[in-house]
Amino acid sequence: MNNTTINVDQLNSALNSLRVLRSSVSHVFETLSNGLRADHGEDGKDKFLLELQELLNNVNINLRDLEQTVNGLPIPTAPFNLGTTTYLSQETTQDRQALYTQLVNSYKWTDKIHEYSSFAHTLLSQNSLKRSYINSGSTKRRGKLQSNHNVAPLLVDNVINNIDRSYSDMKITISRPFASNAVVQINLGHVLKAIVAFKGLLMEWVMVKGYGESMDLWAESRHHVFRKVTENAHAAMLHFYSPTLPELAVRSFMTWLHSYVNLFSEPCKRCGAHLHHTSLLPPAWRDFRTLEPFHDECKQ
């Protein structure tokens, strides 16, 4: 393998010097055919001859280069084995000869496919598709996993009450207006209220509203800032979504939501201002890991 690559390099340089030689030769003929030019002036003949001599010298140099590189090439031991493609050149019928260009095209095509698929592979290996069960492995675990949509209400209550107890300024109340699935209302200080619909232990819907607004699952807040926070909460819900570890997902989401306690009082970490100059909104985005406040426009 290594041997062939060196061969290819040498071949390349040999072909290159051949091309240079050809171009210098064609340059000579071009100058010759053009003859004397206006810029050669009074004693044009001598100048022209000098120019021609220089060009011929160039041809000489290039020829020497080519000879050197060709000498460096290893002599092929046996005729190249081209397989059945050797017969292509012997084919004389005109319509069959078109095969060759098709062959070249298909070769290019497969080459591209190879290239693209290797790019795709590197990209996909960075983003594990954690929204599906593909990575979770054995079928034995899968049976357990599917029950996350359908867990005992008591278990859900326990998980949520545990989270409730860990924050003094975030009050969480559970209600079950839709059969066994929990709808959780979160009061975060005097800042905001959020309502989260659960399916088993998985979050399905979030709606964020202002302190004084009426709570319901579907109507949006009348304030721009809470509509923006709702949008971001949906993004967070999807970000933290993890069917294999639903409890962790809920807890991470609640931690993230709790960071909104300083929604109005904390300036943006990037631009240092409370209000963004175009949207006139406070920093309504919280980083998933550091929980630092940013404007939507500043978060990149």
């Binding site: 302190y211 304030h223 109005f264 009082s265 201002a273 209000l275 006139l280 909104l281």
Partner: protein, 208 residues
């Protein structure tokens, strides 16, 4: 109901009130606001009869933002007591005219255009007492938030940017002691009372 800050805007020398209102209107429209009608806050003060002991003042306020309510503040000299009632309270005051007499010449009001800009509500009021122009009061409300403490930095940033560096933006005296409490409409009325009292004490235009 969000947090409201009332700010006096000094009228420059040789300029009229309408000039300042137009200037501020231009600025607020440039920020992208849309005008949403007019507003009016008025205040009438009643003095108790001397035979009732120490003189007490009752200030009666109407605010177009809460059109069905009448706000009254009883100023005993040492402390203020407020009552929020509905429109019939005005008629009750008329019945009490034997005990409380209106000081008609001190009837004062602030009115002008009202703008909405995102979650902000901005009102540019020209203050007039007895048809004479006294000054400009700018009211800015940030509606999503209910505690002054959390939102004061944001409001100051907005006011400073909108009114310019020449205006000193300070937390209203009334709010300083109750920064952590939930803001209610009467807090706005108290701020108007503060400013109106200052206007009444000054003859002519208030500059600072």
């Amino acid at each position: 109901m969000g947090v409201t800050v009332l700010q006096q805007y000094p009228v420059p020398e040789n300029k009229t009130g309408t000039y300042v209102i137009e200037l501020l209107t231009k600025r607020i429209l440039a920020l992208g606001a849309s005008q949403q009608g007019q507003f009016l806050v008025d205040c009438e003060s009643y003095l108790s009869h001397p035979q009732m002991g120490t003189t007490k003042t009752v200030h009666i306020f109407h605010n177009s933002e809460q059109p069905a309510s009448v706000f009254s503040i009883l100023d005993t000299g040492s402390k203020n007591i407020h009552v929020i009632a509905d429109g019939l309270f005005d008629l009750l005051m008329m019945k009490l005219s034997q005990h409380y007499t209106s000081k008609k010449q001190t009837k004062i009001e602030s009115k002008g255009p009202r703008f909405e800009l995102g979650d902000f509500c901005i009102k540019l009021g020209s203050v007039t007492m007895n048809q004479s122009f006294k000054g400009i009061l700018v009211e800015v409300e940030y509606r999503p938030c209910v505690t002054p403490n959390a939102v004061w930095g944001l409001l100051r940033e907005f006011l400073q940017g909108f009114l310019g560096p020449s205006v000193l933006v300070q937390a209203p005296q009334h709010l300083v002691t109750r920064m952590n409490e939930i803001y209610t409409p009467i807090d706005t009325i108290y701020q108007y009372l503060e400013h109106f009292s200052a206007y009444r004490k000054i003859t002519g235009m208030r500059t600072a």
